[in-house]
């Protein structure tokens, strides 16, 4: 593989990686602090993407769209926590899975009624629509570089929030010693709602940023949600640091296997069949990675619970 293609695919992998991180960070925090498995996290992402596309189309400002995506993601998450998830903290994981599965059905159908079943078009802002020449002769879309930058900034923000603030201290304490935090008189309900809102805001941000490069459509949340689950499992439940490394690992694995397999397959199979085989086997690589990691370390790379 020639170096320019390698650079391009690495950046594509990083783009996917930071998007996955934005989703997986929320998931892993919600799991780590509240011991809740939230399948509807993908619906928050979808809500962010649709809100952002609608606001951008109405106002013409991409920044306003992204802010709307974040706000809608956080608001949706808060409503979800107050109305439903709060009743599920003490329940078995099975109940949480079923209840949030029901939320997915409701959210998807509502969006279908509001926006229709067709994918809607979201364009990157004109200022970022062009490409940047990274190396001589290697152009790369500027918008994708912005996604990577935004993702890294979000990671930095989370690192500061969790590692350097009082709130972050409570979140960390909540992950490792939940009962003790409650016993010390911390208002755990507010903390839980806040963690949910952060998760929702990150998912909304991911949705808003993903709009211009992926299709904004019903069901978009579930496709990426399962990959985000893989990231969370590989990284170790409850660990944001683990989620970050695992997200980049998964993003790169997915992109590289999709980039490399077609050329390998073309030597073995007719071209039309080769593309189909390669596209699906590329998806398999990520799950194989997960299987290997778990066979060696059943609790993931950086388990947060002791």
């Amino acid at each position: 593989m020639d170096p320019s293609l390698l650079l391009e695919q690495t950046l594509n992998g990083l783009t996917l990686g930071v998007m996955l991180f934005l989703l997986a960070a929320g998931l892993t925090l919600i799991f780590g602090v509240m011991d809740v498995i939230n399948l509807a996290h993908g619906s928050l992402y979808m809500a962010g993407a649709f809100a952002s596309a609608a606001v951008t189309a109405r106002t013409g400002s991409f920044a306003a769209g992204v802010l709307a995506g974040i706000a809608v993601g956080a608001a949706f998450a808060l409503v979800l926590e107050l109305a439903l998830i709060r009743r599920l903290y003490a329940r078995a994981h099975l109940d949480q899975v079923l209840a949030t599965f029901a939320v997915i059905l409701i959210a998807n159908e509502t969006v279908k009624i509001l926006f229709g079943p067709q994918p809607i078009f979201a364009a990157p802002p004109p200022a970022l629509a062009g490409s940047v020449e990274l190396l001589p002769g290697v152009p790369y879309p500027a918008y994708r570089l912005v996604i990577i930058a935004v993702g890294l900034l979000a990671a930095l923000f989370l690192w500061w929030l969790i590692g350097r603030t009082r709130l972050g201290m409570l979140i960390r304490a909540g992950t490792t010693h939940r009962c003790m935090v409650q016993a010390l008189g911390v208002n755990i309900e507010v903390l839980f709602a806040f963690v949910f809102a952060i998760g929702g805001a990150l998912a909304g941000l991911a949705g808003a940023m993903a709009g211009p490069i992926l299709a904004v459509q019903v069901g978009m949340g579930e496709q990426i949600l399962i990959l985000a689950f893989v990231v969370v499992v590989i990284g170790g439940l409850g660990s944001v640091r683990g989620a970050f490394l695992a997200a980049l690992l998964v993003g790169l694995t997915d992109t590289m296997s999709r980039a490399l397999l077609p050329s390998l397959m073309r030597d073995l199979l007719p071209p039309a069949a080769a593309d189909q085989v390669a596209a699906n086997l590329g998806s398999v690589a990520v799950y194989l990675l997960m299987a290997v990691v778990l066979a060696v370390r059943p609790r993931g790379l950086f388990p947060a619970h002791g």
Partner: protein, 335 residues
């Protein structure tokens, strides 16, 4: 006294189940009389899903292990049946290497093959997944099911995302299976046999150990039970029987859809189990009938039927945790 109550309880659910069985057995002639036998394939589908849900109940209800990947076994069974039928009608072998596997239209070959392949897959997935607990287990079974989904889509011969249209149907012991009623009987007999065998196993020492491991794993380990092996056996048997259900679905629809392997299908199987009542074997069958009937009725009523199903499901989870069958049995004998 407690013993008498226990036998009385068994008696009641036995009576209700027997009534249900009589209704199911009477369905083909009655429907034919009412000239409504177009409903038979739908009922056969319900029986097949009932089998799959009851098989999942072994793991989910009795074992307390939330498998979010049973769609993989359902789909595998369907694709095994589909591949054997397809290759038989084309006269090509399923596998030419390392061993020669010809296609087949014989149900007595197809059904065991579907169960065996799904069972082997379940053994492999279970062997890795059962090393984990709780949420890990949910996510890992989900991810493995996705792996199987993409692997199957990658085989161009079996239609990819379009699914696999079947031109042949199976024969039973060399005789052609004509009409919908015999297919219905095959499904009903398999379901009843499974329920009897599973009930036997769950009441035996093995079943007690499986349930004990759900309630207090550490204690069972201390007593010297091989908890991992017990669970792996349940997972494997459950996967094999789910594969059997998949083969039934493939034959009745003459079509194998990759949707069977999807994570939504795994979710629906869990819904069936919980809706009907987990840990009851018959409950999941009731749940399967209820969910499929609801889907059928609601989708005829409105295009946006999921908007109705979603809240119903939410209410069930929040308020009726014992499920339909649990309510029926529990209402008659409170406490």
């Amino acid at each position: 006294m407690a013993e008498a109550q226990a036998t009385a309880r068994v008696g009641l659910d036995g009576v209700v189940a027997l009534c249900g069985l009589c209704l199911l057995a009477a369905a083909p002639p009655v429907l034919e009389h009412l000239q409504a036998d177009y409903l038979l394939p739908t009922l056969t589908r319900m029986l097949a899903y009932g089998l799959a849900a009851a098989a999942l109940d072994l793991v989910l209800g009795y074992g307390g292990l939330v498998s979010f990947g049973h769609g993989a076994f359902l789909g595998t069974g369907a694709y095994v049946a589909g591949a054997l039928l397809q290759h038989a009608s084309r006269g090509t072998p399923v596998l030419a290497w390392p061993i020669m596997v010809p296609g087949s239209t014989e149900a007595l070959v197809i059904l065991p093959a579907a169960a065996a392949v799904a069972g082997i897959l379940a053994f492999l997935i279970g062997a890795i997944s059962l090393r984990t607990r709780g949420v890990h287990f949910i996510m890992i079974t989900l991810a493995f099911a996705q792996l199987v989904y993409f692997l199957v889509l990658a085989v161009p011969e079996y239609g990819g995302t379009d699914g696999l249209m079947l031109s042949a149907r199976w024969r039973l012991a060399g005789l052609p299976v004509r009409g919908d009623a015999p297919r219905y009987w095959i499904a009903l007999v398999l379901l009843v046999l499974f329920l009897l065998a599973a009930r036997r196993a769950m009441e035996a020492r093995y079943g007690l150990a499986l349930r004990g491991a759900r309630q207090n794993e550490r204690r069972l380990l201390a007593l010297g039970y091989p908890v991992y092996a017990i669970r792996l056996l349940a997972f494997t048997a459950s996967g094999a029987c789910t594969g059997l259900a998949g083969a039934l679905l493939a034959d009745v629809a003459m079509f194998v859809s990759p949707d069977l392997l999807s994570w939504q299908r795994s979710g629906e199987l869990i819904i069936m189990v919980v809706l009907g009542g987990q840990g009851t074997l018959i409950g999941p069958v009731v749940g399967a009938f209820t969910l499929l009937a609801l889907e059928e009725e609601l989708s005829a009523l409105t295009e946006h039927w999921m908007l109705v199903l979603g809240p119903i499901l939410l209410l069930c989870v929040l308020l009726f945790r014992r499920g339909i069958w649990g309510q029926v049995i529990g209402a008659a004998y409170p406490g």
